[in-house]
Symmetry: C2
Subunit: 341 residues, 2 copies
């Protein structure tokens, strides 16, 4: 009902979801796409391959904790990892704006190389287009990844069950607040940096732990809470699984600096983007062991059980607040969300 | 040696090749990328999978014979087909400019759906980002494809041998001249349209023919002569294979309308982009049979042997002109090339 595309269509909120559904999914419709997980899982010749794509359009290109190159590699590595896939191969397509300093491009490419090496993924094919000045924004990068799912995992957003626990791997909002601070030249966040990181080895540790407990299917689903933040991803899972969810605000790790910035900016950290965090819904039998294992991993030291799946009320996320009340954690429309990509 | 990116870096000519080599390939370096074919061929679990990506940034979005959606699907289908792969799965990432009419987007997506159906490829995953007005150009689409190479083909640009024949599947320059005419509001090409088309079934027919002749390895290499045109692709093959090439101008099909437009615009049709043509270097023993088979296919009715591979002079393409002389068909720097993408 929007005759024209608005910024909110890219926010990761309700407007994004509506656009994706109405314009894209309804036309492309097929059983693999319809799952709407962070990646497609393809059965080819008896193997399960994960396949995922993301465009990166972040401003500024360079920011504390990373740059568009790190993001472009790690973002795709993470969407592969979220189904338990081992990242294998990457493609990268560049849209360069006329006038981009060649040195900036080289710096971005070096970050990509380092990130690819760190994640043990090989960049095997690419593309390079140039657009006229004013028809692009320095550099846009689209990465597409292939991974292999070589364990009997069964992860999908429709598998959460009442009694399951919700796990979060660490502090939220670091990436979004870092980008916003840079963009708005806000000074209060001098020591804050993006959490951009590849999550595949944290996921591997979790799968190992679940397997050691004889319960690999106890990991029901994983998501990296990027654009729409933790709140959006949890709402998606609640709806897809047709369950309720109850969070405990006091167990959700938010840095003081992020909390402060959110207050100043009028934002809720639950809706702010992350680039190196994961949410998992897991069977209660393995939740504590997973937390122990995750905390031993450098990217999971602050891992927490932040809530649980309930039977009622379905399709909703409720949160027990720090001061003892209960509130609905809804999906936002899009316009109210911080624009960080 | 360019401190900033210039339009020529996206032309498909020498400047493009230098940028790709110096900035990207030298950093990402690995044996699969280093082949520099139109697609990577991956060995996973005993299977050979083709993997390729392209961004599409064409202006205008809609043009005679197609639109950006057709291009985005067929371009990637063709890069898969050029190694003999059967197209299987596609991803599509969209970068939308704020203000884009939603109806235009829907029209593009419908074209993509139709093109995907026609090529029997399934779109299984995607991404949607929105950039501020003036930071993009209506819509950019990056498609990435996976295909399966299920025959014992061995196609690569380094396999051309003296004595091999060079095959072209039809008229050249239609796409590039159509786009230029639209962009510059030139009127002389009222009946010309883009040749945008999926080539996988033409390739399949060629592979069947080669196989029937017991010589599937006789198809040495295939390329779709997109941005840099026929001249650029043939130079790449000559260099990669370290051979010479001799073309016969009189056998290269160029429509009168394209020839006329090229004269007016000061262009050589050999450097103008195509989106539904293929070049193949093939063993002399199967060249004639291939031509017969190709001409039976709707996309190959004007197929021709346009030249042959020679031993000397190496790394060069020479052309016997219609008036009886011989000229060098060189690679262009980039600035001299028509900008059509
Ligand atoms: N243009 C599109 N066409 C088809 N499917 C799409 C499109 N855009 C998104 N999707 C699908 O919608 C779902 C959500 O995509 P989204 O990009 O929000 O996930 P993500 O990549 O995990 O998040 P982010 O892009 O913030 O990293 C995925 O299943 C994706 O395949
Ligand atoms: N940014 C990049 N990083 C790594 N490799 C790249 C990059 N850009 C292009 N390449 C590689 O360079 C080669 C030529 O790419 P190019 O895009 O010209 O081929 P194409 O897709 O067949 O042509 P077109 O893009 O005109 O359709 C390919 O092997 C491709 O993988
Ligand atoms: Mg993602
Ligand atoms: Mg390309
Ligand atoms: Mg994700
Ligand atoms: Mg291509
Ligand atoms: Mg995405
Ligand atoms: Mg090609």
């Amino acid at each position: 009902d929007h005759p024209n595309i608005v910024m909110g269509h890219g926010s990761g909120g309700k407007l994004s979801a509506e656009l994706i559904d109405k314009i894209f999914v309804q036309r492309f419709r097929n059983p693999i796409l319809d799952r709407m997980d962070d990646q497609a899982v393809l059965e080819i010749g008896g193997m399960r391959l994960a396949f995922t794509t993301d465009s990166f359009v972040v401003t500024p290109l360079f920011f504390p904790g990373g740059d568009i190159g790190h993001l472009a590699v790690n973002g795709t590595v993470n969407d592969l990892a979220m189904c338990g896939a081992r990242p294998l191969y990457l493609s990268a397509a560049f849209i360069l704006e006329e006038g981009l300093p060649t040195q900036d491009l080289a710096r971005v490419v070096e970050s990509m190389r380092d990130a690819a090496n760190a994640a043990n993924i090989q960049l095997v094919t690419g593309d390079t287009k140039v657009v006229n000045r004013g028809k692009g924004d320095k550099v846009f990068i689209t990465t597409t990844g292939i991974g292999i799912v070589d364990r009997p995992t069964e992860m999908s957003a429709d598998r959460a069950q009442p009694g399951d626990k919700v796990i979060l791997s660490g502090f939220i909002g670091d990436h979004g607040i870092t980008i916003l601070s840079q963009r708005e030249h806000l000074e209060f966040e001098s020591d804050l940096k993006s959490d951009c990181a590849p999550l595949h080895s944290l996921v591997e540790a979790m799968l190992n732990e679940a397997e050691a407990n004889g319960n690999i299917k106890g990991i029901r689903c994983m998501r990296d809470p990027t654009r729409g933040g933790v709140a959006t991803v949890l709402n998606e899972i609640a709806r897809k699984s047709h369950v309720g969810m109850r969070l405990h605000e006091s167990s959700i790790p938010v840095r003081e600096s992020v909390r402060g910035a959110c207050e100043v900016l009028g934002l809720d950290p639950l809706y702010v983007a992350n680039e190196g965090k994961l949410l998992a819904v897991v069977a209660p039998q393995i939740a504590d062991q997973l937390i122990v294992r995750m905390r031993k991993h450098p990217l999971g030291t602050e891992s927490q059980i932040i809530g649980e799946i309930t039977g009622q009320p379905r399709d909703m996320v409720l949160m027990k607040t720090s001061i003892g009340g209960t509130r609905v954690v809804d999906v936002l429309f899009g316009e109210q969300m911080p624009r960080i990509c």
